[in-house]
Structures are given as structure tokens and as C-alpha cells.
């Protein structure tokens, strides 16, 4: 029962988070914006839509991948300390694997269609993935090293590692595909990028996975950096991080792929290393 409850609550919260992102971004841009439950309505509508079978695309594989992308992200929710369903000794490693796998699903869906838009979108996403995933793994493994445990434990590291927190927010932006890193879905260049040929059930699933990514990355940042003691505190810290993420999305333009790659390697990686080396020297 707890599992089903967790699935429903996390799905609901993901949609609400996505709704908040849309609504707050709209207000910042002086628009009215959709109501915050709009993603739920979109999801229900997409489920009722027809599925187009593109000639030359691996259709059943795309369906499989779309379900797996959601499943992998829900598994991460099970690991959170406040949920504690997947609470074993080395779940940190599993977390890293699942985070990588959820992005791999998005790259694979683009490669399984014969369209040039999805192909270019997937290639870009894969290149960007190389750039932000190594820093993310370094951050996560560094936490494991400090706590001498491979378990996802709440930590309060915002004060001792401020630069790591900034890097984590930047990586969040890249992982979520928001400005300035929405390069794989740059609709002005390659329409919807890797999701161009998806429709109906698959598109609904991928949209759910995208909303869930927002929920998980923000929650992960909260758990790792703020150590929320109770559920209300968790939501207060989460909303602060969400606000920072939305502000960046609204205030910035998009990088070109080479610029984004350069930015992540030249500026982000040293930022992380400075914080780590600083602690090691002390």
C-alpha cells in the first residue's frame, strides 16, 4: 500500500511542481499563465490521444523506454529518507545509475525514430550529458566520501560547501533541460528535439518523466544541502530552490551546444574542485 501511495503522491507532486514552474515563469514574464494543475489535464488529454506509428521507428521499443523513464525516476523517490522504501546500504550507487538511465531514455527515444530533428536533438542531449553528468557524479560521490556511507542520508552541507550547491543548481538546470541548457529541445532549431515524433501515450509518459525530473532534482538538492527535519520544512526549502531554478530559466537565453559544453567543463568542474580541494587542505 505504501508503494502505491508513494507513486501517486510523487506523481501528483511532480505535476504540481511543473505547474508551479509554468505559473511562476509566466508571472515573471508578465503573463497570466496556465493554472498550476494544467500538467495533470495535459497528461489526461494526451492519454486519450491517438498514437502515430512513424514508419521506420521502433515503436514498441519507444513505448518500453517511455515507461522505463518514469519507472526509474519513481524508484529514486523510494530512496528518499522521508519515504525510506529502498533504504539499503549502497542505494547511493543505485541513485547515480537511475539518474543516468533516466537521461539515457530520452537520448534513446530520439535515436529510435528516423527523423532528422530527433537525431540532432538526441546527439545534442548526449553531448550535453557528457558535460554535466561527470560533475554530478563527482558531487554525489564526494558526499558519500564525507559521510563514509553509500546510503542516501540527509545532510546539511549548504554552509560548508556553498560552491557545490551553486554547481548543483547549474547541473539541475542542465538535467531538467531548462534555459540556458534547453539545447536538446531547442524548438526554434529542431522543433521538439528528441520528442518530435512522440505522441499519445509515449508523449504523456515522457512529459511525466520530465515533470518528475524537476521534483527529484529539487528534492535531492533539498535533502543533500538543507537536511529538512520535517515535511513542512522540506517543502519550504524545496520552494526556495525551485524559485532559483525558475528565475534562471526566465532570466537567461539558450547556449549553443559548443558554448554550453565549454561552460560546463571550463567553469563548473573547477568550481566543484575548488570546494573539494579547499576542504581537503583544511
Amino acid at each position: 500500500m505504501v508503494i502505491i501511495e508513494t507513486v501517486f503522491i510523487s506523481t501528483f507532486l511532480s505535476f504540481i511542481y511543473e505547474g508551479i514552474v509554468r505559473k511562476v515563469a509566466a508571472r515573471m514574464q508578465n503573463r497570466i499563465g496556465p493554472p498550476i494543475w494544467q500538467p495533470i489535464l495535459d497528461f489526461i488529454k494526451l492519454l486519450s490521444k491517438e498514437r502515430f506509428e512513424i514508419i521506420g521507428s521502433h515503436h514498441s521499443f519507444i513505448t518500453f523506454i517511455s515507461i522505463m523513464s518514469v519507472a526509474s525516476l519513481i524508484s529514486i523517490v523510494f530512496m528518499f529518507p522521508l519515504v525510506g522504501l529502498l533504504n539499503f546500504n549502497w542505494n547511493f550507487i543505485l541513485l547515480i545509475y537511475l539518474l543516468v538511465f533516466s537521461t539515457a531514455c530520452f537520448i534513446l527515444v530520439g535515436l529510435s525514430s528516423p527523423s532528422p530533428y530527433t537525431l540532432v536533438g538526441s546527439t545534442r542531449e548526449a553531448i550535453l550529458f557528457l558535460a554535466y553528468d561527470l560533475p554530478l557524479i563527482i558531487i554525489l560521490l564526494y558526499f558519500a566520501m564525507t559521510y563514509k556511507s553509500l546510503q542516501l542520508l540527509p545532510a546539511n552541507l549548504i554552509l560548508s560547501f556553498p560552491l557545490l550547491f551553486i554547481s548543483f543548481i547549474i547541473i539541475t538546470q542542465a538535467k531538467l533541460g531548462l534555459q540556458p541548457f534547453n539545447i536538446g529541445e531547442a524548438d526554434q532549431e529542431i522543433t521538439a528535439g528528441y520528442l518530435t515524433e512522440s505522441s499519445g501515450f509515449e508523449l504523456a509518459m515522457f512529459n511525466l518523466a520530465k515533470s518528475m525530473r524537476i521534483f527529484i532534482m529539487v528534492s535531492l538538492a533539498t535533502v543533500l544541502f538543507f537536511n529538512p527535519s520535517s515535511i513542512p520544512m522540506f517543502f519550504i526549502y524545496s520552494s526556495i530552490i525551485l524559485f532559483v531554478v525558475i528565475s534562471l530559466r526566465v532570466a537567461l537565453a539558450r547556449f549553443r551546444i559548443d558554448q554550453g559544453f565549454k561552460f560546463l567543463w571550463i567553469y563548473l568542474l573547477p568550481l566543484i574542485l575548488i570546494d573539494i580541494v579547499k576542504v581537503m587542505l583544511i
Binding site: M28, Q29, N30, R31, P116, Y117, L119, V120, Q179, P180, N182, I183, A186, D187, Q188, E189, I190, T191, V250, A251, L252, A253, R254, F255, R256, I257, D258, Q259
Partner: protein, 381 residues
């Protein structure tokens, strides 16, 4: 052989206008570009020959949704040259006011589009918010927001009263600060600079070889502005400078347009001071002789040319429109090839193409080239 061909349009999120580009890529680099127009041919030149001159003014106002008054002013001036009528000085000032306000709407829309192309949707939303001030002013003057229809043969259709002048000046005062702010955003934002500086470079030689017009030419250091060279309407009484930039890249084209907006606000404010009570129209007798006339204006996108010929009836025998985008579209190969796919929307937007006005008829018969005379095309009617 190229790696991949990316189809771009005729329905594409980057450019909501019917152009089809075939972009040949190697990796992300653009190696070759081919373009096709002709998806939205409206047959306006032919329709104009079926209408009498006074109705034609309204028809030409509908060639383009953004530079409506540029088209109708240009056509009206052509017709007035055929009739040899002088229009009252006040009418010329009113036309200038509408003309410059229209340039403001066009440039603000364009700036928003540039923001949209580089993924900066906030800039797009802000530009459209500020654009409301201009549209409100236009509504006060002409009664319409987009298609203005202020011109008529021998003058203008509506007067600007002193109360209106006050309201418009108030709107322009607010707009001036906002445009200055947008200018600083463009100048200082590092990401906008990263995406536009050095992209789609056109040097002075390219401009001269390809006969480019408008802000595209001025951003490459060619001070070509019909408002200065022809001194049509009331531009000889007004004080303004032709904005140029020598860099010739997308950023220069953006910056030239932002500075032109400030110049336009200054021009409207000056022109409003000249508007005093008086007649706004000389009603001419519409008797046409066999004659032809060419008129040109500086539309928001550059030099716009109308050729009008009458054969003695009250309908034009021939109207030929040369839109600025038709002149500028030739440089697509220059601004796209050699850059990456991500730069295509930026370069394309920086030219400010208005493709609906550019569409032409192409006759393809068994793949052979064939010269078709105008009489043959008209003969079937």
C-alpha cells in the same frame, strides 16, 4: 556528400512564415542552403489591376500585416504623382507620424522575435508588452491597431487633435525609457552577445554586390536610407540621424534597430509639434492620363518600391511591388553557410524577413525554363 538535410519550414516554430529552407549539415555545421518561396502567393498585383485607384490604397495596406502603412503610403504617393496633386503639409506630417509609429511596432516585434530565437522568451514577452504603447497610440490616431488605412488620394482620412497629441506624447514618454532599457539589455546581456556577435557577417562589399537594403545594409556600414536621400513626406523638416554600424553581424543588426527605435520616437515627437489646425486633404478630380510613376519609401525593413502605370482609366494598368525582403533574401547563402545549425534561426531572424510580401509566382513546365510574358499571364482572363 552532406551528412544530413534538415527541412526548415514551410511550417516551423522558428519562423511562422511560409519559407522552405533545405539546410545541408555536416555535424552541426551548415554546408549548403537552398530556399523556396511561393507558398503564400496572394496575387495582389493582379487584384490591384481590377480595382480603381482609391480602393487600391486599402488593398495595398493589406500586402503586409506589419508594414501596412508603408505599402499604402508608397502606393498613394505613386497615384498622387500620376495625378500631379499636392497634398497639404499637415497631411504629410500625419502620414510621417503613422509611418514612424509603424516602424516602432515592427522593430519591437522583431526584437522580441530575436529573443525568441535564442530561447530568451522573457525578452519576447517584454517587447510585446512595450509594443502595446505604440499600438494604443496608433489606435488613437487611426482607429485601428494593425492595418491603419490612414491614407487617401490627396491627404489623410483622420485628423490629429491637440488632445490626441498630448496622449500620444505621454505614451511616447513612457516608451522612450522602456526602449532605452531594452537597449541596455541587448548591450549588456552576456548570453545575447554570445549568440549574436560574429554570427552571419555581411561586409560592405557583400551589401554592394547583393544590393541589400534597410537596417541590414546600415548594420554593415552603408548609410542607405530613403528618408535621407529622397526626403519624402515631411522628413526634410525633421532632424534625425541615419544609424549605422560597421560590424555587420547579427548583433550589429540588432543594435542598429534598437537605436532606430529611439530615433523614431524622436521623429514622432518632432512631427507632432508641427501639427496645427488646418486642412488634411485636397480633394483632386480623378481624371487619369496615360502615365507611369515610381515611388519609394523607407519601410521598416528597407527600401520599398512601387511602380504604377495608368492607361487613362480609373484602374491601374500595372502595379509592380518590390519589397525590401525580396532584395535582402539573396544574402541567405552568405549569412547561413559556414555557421552552425543553432545559428540558422538567429541569422535568419536578424535579416527580419517578411516572406508573405516576397512571394512570387513560379511557372514550372516539364522542368524546362520558359519565359512567359505578362500578356500571356493576363490573356486567360
Amino acid at each position: 556528400m552532406h551528412d544530413m538535410m534538415i527541412p526548415f519550414g514551410p511550417a516551423h516554430p522558428a519562423l511562422p512564415e511560409p519559407i522552405h529552407l533545405k539546410i545541408f549539415l555536416e555535424g552541426e555545421e551548415v554546408k549548403d542552403v537552398d530556399f523556396f518561396v511561393g507558398y503564400n502567393h496572394k496575387g495582389i498585383e493582379r487584384t490591384l489591376e481590377e480595382m480603381d485607384f482609391s480602393k487600391g490604397i486599402f488593398m495595398t495596406g493589406r500586402v503586409c500585416g506589419i508594414c501596412s502603412s508603408a505599402h499604402s503610403t508608397c502606393f498613394t504617393r505613386g497615384v498622387e504623382k500620376l495625378l500631379d496633386v499636392e497634398i497639404p503639409r499637415k497631411a504629410e506630417f500625419i502620414r510621417t507620424v503613422v509611418f514612424e509609429l509603424e516602424r516602432l511596432t515592427s522593430h519591437l516585434l522583431w526584437l522580441g522575435m530575436l529573443g525568441h530565437e535564442i530561447g530568451f522568451d522573457t525578452l519576447f514577452m517584454l517587447c510585446f508588452r512595450e509594443r502595446e504603447y505604440v499600438l494604443d497610440s496608433l489606435e488613437l490616431i487611426t482607429g485601428k491597431r494593425i492595418v491603419h488605412d490612414i491614407n487617401t488620394i490627396g491627404g489623410v482620412r483622420r485628423d490629429i487633435s491637440p488632445e490626441l497629441i498630448k496622449k500620444i506624447n505621454k505614451n511616447l514618454g513612457i516608451l522612450k525609457d522602456k526602449v532605452e532599457y531594452l537597449g541596455t539589455v541587448i548591450k549588456k546581456d552576456p548570453l545575447i552577445k554570445k549568440r549574436t556577435v560574429g554570427i552571419g557577417i555581411l561586409d560592405k562589399k557583400d551589401v554592394e554586390q547583393l544590393s541589400l537594403v534597410g537596417p541590414v545594409a546600415r548594420a554593415s556600414g552603408v548609410p542607405y536610407d530613403i528618408r535621407k536621400t529622397d526626403k519624402y513626406l515631411a522628413y526634410d523638416d525633421l532632424n534625425f540621424k541615419v544609424v549605422t554600424n560597421k560590424d555587420g553581424d547579427s548583433f550589429a543588426r540588432a543594435f542598429v534597430r534598437v537605436q532606430e527605435m529611439s530615433e523614431s520616437i524622436r521623429l514622432v515627437k518632432q512631427a507632432l509639434t508641427f501639427i496645427k489646425p488646418g486642412p488634411i486633404r485636397n480633394k483632386p478630380t480623378l481624371t487619369f492620363t496615360e502615365k507611369e510613376a515610381i515611388s519609394r519609401v523607407e519601410a521598416p525593413r528597407g527600401e520599398l518600391i512601387y511602380y504604377v502605370r495608368s492607361n487613362g482609366t480609373n484602374k491601374p494598368a500595372r502595379v509592380k511591388i518590390r519589397t525590401p525582403t525580396y532584395a535582402n533574401i539573396l544574402c541567405l547563402g552568405k549569412v547561413l553557410v559556414g555557421y552552425t545549425l543553432a545559428d540558422v534561426p538567429v541569422s535568419l531572424a536578424s535579416l527580419d524577413p517578411c516572406l508573405c510580401c516576397t512571394d512570387r509566382v513560379t511557372v514550372v513546365k516539364d522542368g524546362k525554363e520558359e519565359i512567359i510574358k505578362l500578356e500571356d499571364l493576363h490573356g486567360h482572363h
